[in-house]
């Protein structure tokens, strides 16, 4: 029995500043099988895979390959050990050809140490014939579709006959036909004796290919069993767990008029027929898996991305055209999920960042009144509890939580009525999270309308009055607080139709 264990992880732990990503995780992968790893966003799946692939080093624990302990230093070392990884994000150079990309970094060399193009194209051609792909090795990558590229990524990973293939959500970008092809490939790999670690939260796929299933939750291993002993409902229950702790300061705030009303919002190929509303004093959640279109909806509403059709009413006024400027004037603001990119000017001071969106308030007859600006910013930072040495400190020097508070302070200066908050607590520590929850409730009490997009289900369950669930660009369910159930939300999010 012991001999057919290809890879074993023992008590792996890994921490990042402020978060324990993995806590004493152990599991075994048998030779010639598919081992599915599932869990919610942020459960630690990707971190674990990056450890196996040598991108991260674990803080504790050991990795055994064929029963022998190994230390995997980097992806190249992993490759030499026969471990190959297919990334969720695509890692190709668009200007290079298919062949050049497949052999990226390990181009075949001739005796003068020049790249042997003939050899490279010959081998690529052979590989593509074997895998039944229809495009030319001379094609430039940028001319291929996303799904073609994803297939190429898969082929690249299996091109050097690995013993272990890690697939991180490989089907998120490919078509149904290619999924079949992928499963066919997995079968071939298994016959060759390779082991596959497959990360996914698509239940139908999981149960088609899994030999074993391991469920992770909040960085811990919850259960690891042969697939035959599990079913869809049980797996979902394991994924979401039972943890409704009392760490959310939610309260029942009286609700007022509808402040934001969205009907049939559609953006071709991104999301469609999105209808929802938020009342004054209400916190509404958007649940869903990554790529469900939540961020895209919020960005379109804020005027950052265009949309094709839909009726949007902001505070009883129909808006035909959405622009960031108009939205801010109307009191609708957005907290981006990517605060470094869309929220902050990292190299400028806390002061300039906080007053950025509403600087005209401090300008009289063409002159900026810096005293008043300072007073207002000081006050705002105090009420938001921003911890910074001085107001002149550049924002890049602050911690994640304080950076987020700076973005919030910026929007508070505008005194908005509607706040679209995309992952407001991502990447910040527990203390700062709680402060942001408290702020949300304070805002609700003041009659603001809040939309909270989050990938952390417990947070949505804890903070929202209502939750809409999105799946593949559509709203698939709506739940009131009294009906909240993590299992139900997961079902809507995955798209398994059940009651």
């Amino acid at each position: 029995m012991q001999t057919d264990i290809k890879l074993e992880l023992r008590n792996i732990s890994k921490s990042f500043p402020g978060v324990k990503a993995l806590d004493q995780v152990s599991f075994k992968v048998r030779k010639g099988t598919t081992h599915v790893l599932c869990g919610e966003n942020g459960a630690g799946k990707s971190t674990l895979m990056k450890i196996i692939n040598g991108i991260y080093t674990p803080d504790e624990g050991e990795i055994l390959l064929d029963g022998k302990p190994v230390k995997i230093d980097n992806p190249i070392h992993a490759r030499s050990l026969g471990i190959s990884m297919i990334f969720q994000e695509l890692s190709f150079v668009p200007e290079m050809t298919v062949a050049e990309n497949i052999f990226l970094g390990r181009w075949p060399l001739d005796k003068y140490r020049r790249v042997d193009h003939a050899e490279m194209y010959k081998r690529t051609q052979a590989l593509m014939e074997r895998e039944g792909l229809h495009y030319s090795p001379y094609e430039q990558l940028k001319n291929l579709s996303v799904s073609d590229i994803q297939m190429l990524e898969i082929i690249k990973a299996v091109s050097n006959d690995p013993q272990i293939v890690i697939m991180d959500e490989p089907t998120s970008a490919i078509t149904d036909k290619e999924i079949e092809k992928l499963f066919e490939m997995i079968r071939t790999l298994k016959e060759r004796g390779a082991s596959i670690i497959y990360i996914s939260h698509k239940m139908d796929e999981i149960f088609r290919i899994a030999d074993d299933i391991t469920v992770l939750r909040d960085g811990s291993m919850v259960d690891s069993r042969p697939a035959s002993e599990l079913d869809v409902d049980e797996t979902i229950a394991l994924m979401v767990g039972r943890r409704m702790e009392n760490k959310y300061p939610w309260e029942d705030v009286p609700k007022g008029d509808v402040l934001l009303d969205v009907k049939h919002l559609t953006s071709q190929g991104v999301f469609r027929d999105i209808s929802f509303n938020i009342r004054a004093g209400e916190i509404v959640g958007f649940a869903g898996l990554m790529g469900a279109g939540r961020t895209e909806v919020v960005r379109a509403l804020f005027g950052l991305d265009p949309y094709d059709s839909g009726e949007i009413t902001i505070k009883d006024r129909r808006r035909e055209h959405l622009s960031v400027k108009q939205n801010i004037a109307d009191g609708l603001v957005m907290l981006s999920e990517d605060r470094r990119r869309y929220g902050l000017i990292p190299i400028r001071s806390v002061m300039e960042n906080v007053s950025l969106a509403n600087l005209k308030k401090f300008i009289y007859k063409g002159w900026l009144h810096r005293r008043e600006e300072r007073d207002a910013v000081t006050e705002q930072c105090r009420s938001m509890n921003v911890k910074t040495p001085t107001l002149e400190t550049t924002v890049e020097a602050l911690s994640g939580g304080n950076q987020q508070k700076v973005v919030l302070a910026k929007w508070m200066e505008v005194d908005p009525d509607i706040l679209l908050m995309d992952e407001p607590t991502r990447g910040i520590d527990v203390g700062a999270k709680f402060e942001i929850y408290k702020l949300m409730i304070d805002l609700a009490r003041k009659g603001k309308a809040l939309l909270m997009v989050s990938s952390e289900l417990p947070e949505l369950l804890g903070m929202c009055d209502r939750i809409y669930v999105l799946s593949q660009g559509r709203i698939t369910g709506e739940l009131k607080r009294e009906d909240f159930s993590a299992e139900q939300i997961m079902h809507y999010a995955i798209g398994t139709d059940r009651g």
Binding site: F302, V324, Y342, G343, I347, L356, K387, T393, E396, N402
Partner: protein
Amino acid sequence: MQAKQGKANLWETIKSKYAIFLVLVVLFVICSLLNSNFLTWGNLTNISRQISVTTILAFGETILIISGLLDLSSGSVMAFAGTLSVMCYKALGEGAGSMLVAILVAIAIAMFCNALNALMVTTFKAPAFIVTLAMQTMARGAALLLTAGQNVYQIGNYTVLGQGSVWVIPIPILFMLFFFLVTRYILSDTRFGRSLYAIGGNEAAANASGIAVNKVKTAAYLVNGVMVGMAAVLFMSRVNAGLPNGCIGYETEALTTAIIGGTSFTGGIGTAGGTIVGAFIVGFLNNIMNLTSVNSYLQQIIKGAIIALAVIYDIYAKSRRTRKKMGNIEDKAGKK
């Protein structure tokens, strides 16, 4: 402990904010000691007048670089706007009225060229580097076409602005000071200025904060146009002719000045004060090398090396700043 930290912070602030000013002071002292002719009223006014034209251009560049743009066309545009202005003045005849028209013509032409730059950058999202490089060639061509390649001489009283003085101060210096104040006002006292820093620091975030990015960039080029136009008038009137082949390399001089003055080429950082200090550093260096008869070819090598040093310092200071603050300040803030 607290006080000590405060002190350390203050020293850090002084070092980071006024480092360039300290360099200038040290350089000034060294120059004064090296050559007795340096520290004389005549020599210092001379330096100031020499740097005035490129410094005015450098203010324009500072505004542009802060917002993540730049202008490689300013030298050529000066030649074009300047020769046209001179020709206008000659055509209209002597007088204060025709001088005013000539100035307005120069400014209008330079603004027009910069409006085209802005259009390319904002509408077609073309890189400022390439766009203004193209304008450099076009404007030079326009200047040569206009004059058939001939210099325009006998420009009469057009020379007053470049060669005259108010009381004991040469007029170009007054213009330089005027544009210093304008730039300072724009950068630190207006919404436009803050928007420039925001766009250069992070364009996507500036846009998501409701800043009209394209409008601000266009305005930045137009302001630059005003400065290039005025610099053109001062230059032509100083050299006593309309030179369609003049001002070659002035944009590089202006960029050098801005960079030495602490304007960060990656955008988002820079001040008017820094630029004028940078201008005097360049001016003092040129002057002292001439006074001490340093070989003029060697001078070029030294100047180039100084630009490289300024850029390396900028990158070094930035990485040190981030690294240090990431560690220290977070702890300190946490304890407060």
